[in-house]
């Protein structure tokens, strides 16, 4: 029995176990492969935030839920840290029902670090169902779309909302997105209509879908998955969750690439015999 025929009968649970070990061991031992080097896409994200004048207001859309915390949460936290470090006011909205508690968490963590006051320097307007309708309505009036914040405080009593009527007063749209509704819809409904500069942090599985927007200049920066989040953490100067996970990620990738190669080699004799027939 050759090694390749043995591979055909390999119980897939051994692969699961190996991937699990390749993730757990580097995290526990602090095994380090290589430093994280920021890509042009992550630098675009960083530079777009840097260009926003201090005291301006941005909309931060946290369109994800606990299912993609590992990818979206680190980039969400890094973005809020970056914005607050530059004294930029944040209006947070969420189009995923599971998003508001996560937005609350990142705003409160960074708010404490940078001594920012809720409703004065930032506000979480919470979840609103309606997807594209919500985005489109925000173009007419943000206070009408979100009459109160997540805690029920009317927007006319929230200092950070003073003077904010629609996207005309928004310096940048930051979309942290897990899929639909998210970055694609913000581009379609807001960027193309109101010409608001926009950056996005998205899950890796959806990232290829947004490269055309980046190439066409509709997005000024793009963070793809945990790798994108780690690059941005390095740029912000606050390596955190994503940076810590990158070594485990790299080892698992190497193993999976090796298994794909091995799988194809194992399939070769079978293919050639089929060809002979």
């Amino acid at each position: 029995m050759s090694i390749f025929s043995a591979l055909h009968r390999l119980d897939r649970r051994w692969i699961f176990l190996t991937v699990g070990l390749l993730v757990v061991v580097p995290l526990l031992t602090g095994f380090h492969i290589a430093p994280v080097r920021p890509s042009a896409r992550a630098k675009g994200f960083y530079d777009a935030v840097q260009r926003v004048p201090e005291g301006s207001t941005v909309v931060l859309a946290g369109d994800y839920d606990p299912g993609t915390i590992a990818e979206n949460y680190p980039m969400h936290l890094a973005a809020v840290r970056h914005l607050m470090s530059r004294n930029i006011k944040i209006i947070a909205v969420e189009l995923y029902p599971g998003g508001p508690p996560l937005a609350d968490r990142v705003l409160h963590i960074a708010g404490e670090e940078f001594h920012k006051q809720e409703r004065v320097d930032y506000v979480n307007l919470g979840f609103k169902s309606g997807n594209e309708v919500v985005m489109s309505q925000m173009g007419s009036s943000i206070p009408v779309t979100f009459p109160a914040d997540r805690s029920g405080v009317p927007v006319n009593r929230i200092p950070v909302m003073k003077g904010v009527e629609n996207f005309g007063q928004i310096a940048l749209l930051v979309s942290i997105s897990a899929g639909y509704p998210g970055t694609k819809e913000w581009v379609q409904q807001v960027v193309s209509r109101y010409h608001v500069p926009m950056v996005a942090g998205v899950t890796a599985v959806s990232a290829p879908e947004y490269y055309p927007y980046l190439q066409a200049g509709q997005l000024q920066g793009l963070l793809g998955g945990m790798a994108g989040a780690a690059e941005y953490e390095v740029l912000v100067g606050h390596p955190a969750l994503a940076t810590r996970g990158m070594d485990a990620q790299s080892l698992a990738h190497i193993f999976i690439a090796f298994m794909i190669l091995l799988g194809n080699l194992a399939a070769l004799p079978q293919r050639s015999s089929t060809g002979r027939k």
């Binding site: 979840f127 694609k184 819809e185 193309s192 066409a216 955190a240 810590r244």
Partner: protein, 214 residues
């Protein structure tokens, strides 16, 4: 090692392990976690939608008033919303069609205009590129690859003539570009799945067992 004393963390950790147990084989613990997730998600969504949409956008402005002003026009969306529930009564279920007609009228129009402005026009605009960029060989090559990839891929999806001869050869080049894009998508998908695993492992090791210091 500092094991969490929080009940919430223990429940989350045991549910995570219950879901992971499916990797070994299907079992009752996995089924229990799966059903809990579906039930809790549905309940959470209903309550959240009431407090974040129905109450602040409909009930409060209509019945209590905002800034001393009650918006009686909101009776129309309220009635349309109530009509949707007529589907539960076979004799009057046709009433729900009025509400559905409104949704079908507005929603596709919104999406089509968004697609037209955001994707169709802007993406065509994005492919109008110079084929020679002075002093930047990399940009020149990149622009050529983009335009050749775009045209050959479009030709692959041109089905009005049989893919033979020059047309077939060009379409074949388009297939290679598509293969590269599928490969990139698969690579990103692998990265996404491993990231999710890392997130859960970090939770188990840090929040639950306290053996990982972040």
């Amino acid at each position: 090692m500092h094991v969490s004393a929080s009940l919430g963390v223990w429940v989350a950790a045991l549910l995570t392990l219950g879901i992971f147990s499916f990797l070994y084989k299907d079992n009752p613990a996995y089924k229990l976690c799966e059903h809990l997730f579906v039930g809790v998600s549905a309940g959470y969504y209903v309550v959240l939608t009431y407090y974040s949409v129905v109450k602040p956008n409909l009930l409060d402005p209509l019945f209590l008033g905002v800034n001393g002003h009650r918006d009686f026009l909101l009776v129309i969306p309220l009635l349309l919303g109530i009509l949707l529930f007529s589907r539960f009564f076979p004799k009057g279920d046709w009433l729900s069609r009025w509400s559905i007609a409104l949704i079908l009228g507005v929603y596709p129009a919104l999406r089509i205009t968004g697609f037209g402005q955001g994707d169709f026009v802007e993406q065509i605009h994005g492919t109008i590129l110079p084929l020679w960029v002075a002093n930047d060989f990399g940009a020149t090559v990149g622009n050529w690859i983009l335009i050749v990839g775009l045209l050959t891929t479009l030709i692959f999806f041109f089905f009005s003539k049989e893919h033979k001869g020059a047309l077939g050869g060009t379409a074949r080049v388009g297939v290679y570009f598509l293969m590269v894009s599928f490969g990139a998508s698969y690579g990103y998908t692998v990265m996404a799945r491993i990231s999710l695993l890392i997130g859960r492992v970090m939770f188990l090791l840090h929040d639950w067992l306290g053996v990982l210091h972040l």
